[in-house]
């Protein structure tokens, strides 16, 4: 303590140095209980034997991973081929989540830019307005979305009444409806990080670029975007990751006709299959995929920064 006081400026850091381990303890305990323990449990379950109608038998088994990667026919006794079913389901989820992320970015970026360029006392009000719809439960918002989009719903009524279309557009129970639902569910996760980044951006840089005869497009692409890139990336991750695991939108707006990763996993725990190890294995594969994606991305970032530096 005395040493800390003597060194002046860095007093805070030094003061808590000895106690740091203890002060971090609550955070570590919370993280291990809420994050680590469930993941470890899933990992263990994925290597256990399935009990009929849900539950596990405590015997080591690779059956869950075998089921994921190998197709042994309807009766499970044919020579193994590559199983495409689950790869297709994963690919569909990635594609849907990707489309929803792109849609969020296209709408979210200008929105964030708009808010960040308002006067300082107006910004909190705009942010507040963005969050208002999200006070309502996700399930209710998704159901309302279905009401809006249905064949006899207000959207189709409106489009018909202004003469744009003659017969209703079939939107509900299509992939597009799922993408719209995901986009709507997670839009604020795109807007808020980008807003935070744009707000800190020094607009004098844009003016400088304009003075140097950069077109507006060039300024956006070469000055603004690189500066707010971390916010954009954070937004994309925050929309993409939960979209991949979502099952509400596919169930309600997509008609539950095609499994997404989320609904496939849900089926293993809540459906007839009652195959907990397989549900755990699918979760682990999803987790690994997301981790690898994020790590690849982080490495790419580090490389890019090195090259620039």
């Amino acid at each position: 303590m005395a040493a800390g006081a003597a060194s002046g400026g860095s007093a805070t850091t030094d003061t808590y140095k000895e106690a740091r381990t203890w002060l971090l303890l609550p955070a570590w305990v919370t993280l291990s209980i809420l994050v680590l323990a469930p993941v470890v449990m899933m990992l263990i379950y994925s290597f256990l034997t399935k009990e009929f109608r849900g539950g596990v038998i405590w015997e080591f088994s690779l059956a869950a991973y075998d089921q994921f990667f190998f197709d042994r026919g309807l009766f499970g006794d044919e020579p193994p081929k590559i199983e495409w079913t689950y790869i297709i389901i994963f690919w569909r989820s990635i594609w849907q989540a990707g489309a929803a992320t792109l849609l969020s970015l296209v709408i979210g970026f200008p929105t964030a830019y708009f808010i960040a360029t308002r006067s300082e006392n107006m910004r909190p009000i705009w942010v507040f307005l963005i969050t208002i719809p999200y006070w309502v439960n996700l399930l209710i918002r998704t159901v309302s979305m279905k009401f809006l989009l249905r064949d006899q719903g207000p959207l189709n009524d409106f489009l018909i009444s202004i003469g744009l279309i003659d017969s209703p557009l079939h939107i509900v129970n299509t992939n597009f409806a799922v993408q719209l639902g995901l986009f709507y569910s997670y839009l604020p996760f795109m807007v808020l990080p980008i807003y935070a980044a744009v707000e800190r951006y020094n607009f004098a840089l844009s003016e400088a670029a304009a003075d140097l005869y950069a077109s507006k497009w060039t300024t956006l692409r070469r000055i603004l975007l690189p500066a707010v890139k971390p916010g954009v990336i954070a937004g994309c991750i925050l929309v993409f990751v939960p979209s991949m695991g979502s099952f509400l939108a596919p169930d309600l707006l997509g008609g539950a006709k095609n499994f997404m990763i989320g609904s496939l996993i849900e089926e293993q725990f809540k459906g007839n299959a009652g195959n907990w190890p397989f549900g755990a294995a699918a979760s682990m594969i999803l987790l690994t995929m997301v981790l690898v994606l994020l790590m690849l991305f982080a490495r790419q970032q580090a490389k890019a920064e090195k090259a620039e530096g």
Binding site: F52, G54, F75, L252, A256, G271, G274, N275
Partner: protein, 345 residues
Amino acid sequence: MKSFMKTSVAAFALTVGANAAAAEGELVLYHWFEYMPQEVLDKFTEETGIEVTMDTFDSNESMLASLKAGGIGTYDLSVPGDYMVSIMANEGMLDTIEDGELKNKGNIEPEWADPSFDPGRKHSIPYQWGSTSFAVNRDVYSGDIQTTDILFNPPEELQGRINMLDAQGEIMVMASLHLGIPQCSSDREQLKALNALLQDAKQHWTSFNSDTAKEVLVSGDAAVGQIYDGFSAKAREEGANVEYAFPTQGYVAWMDNVVLLKDAPNRENALKFMDFLLEPENIAAVTNFAQYNAGVKGVSDFLDPNLASQPEKNPHDNVGPGVFIEVCSEEVQAVYDQIWTNLKK
């Protein structure tokens, strides 16, 4: 300070009051959605002072899963369908009701007093029974609907406008009836045919949804919906021009039952509630709400007179058999799960 004292005293009084109410105890019920009228629960609380807490589920399987994942010991009563009662009993999840513990047990109608899914009614009492088939919007299609072809080989007007229940059991039974094969058959050719039938029929189906089975018919999103008879009647009353079909190939019959769960925290109160539901007047209130049928003697005096004449309760002469969902062996269930994944991949 004075006002602070007042508030504290008031708060204290409230706490004491709440405790007094809780002293009569509570009851925790795990039930289907939209299946228990609030006034029936209120009446029970009024009569006994027991507070009822209710959680809901949307399929027998999801209920089984939550109970397995730690719900045992939390809930007193649940309401599984027929086949699920035997599954739960085999899993040892049900408590036994000893002779004489239910004073109204004699009120159970003789035909439901000794069902195959719970011989001797050791664990359960009847809640409601009815049928599951499908309803067709008559504005869209006016032809013959008394056939399972409507679901599996639909006429052009109905293609792409069919909502199925998101329930493996109900779909497998209807498909088996359509093919004329026994349920839970282990015959490979029959299982392959079942797989092929569903693969082919899927192109005509627009969605799988149980909890909005009624709404999609009322809103017109679907022209055909696989549905429970009471839900179909409600859809009709809410203005949809739907007719409930009794296919000549057969349809699904079911009975939901109130079961006493193992390690029920309020076993005494649970038995009181079961007795309460065996009173004709009380179970009739449930029937009037849900529009199915009770399995208790003497309910007719309390029933809405319109119920008995409902088309959903009066099959035509050529109707096929009403069959209960059977419990398949582990081997056959594994194939069923594979067929189900193939259907939804």
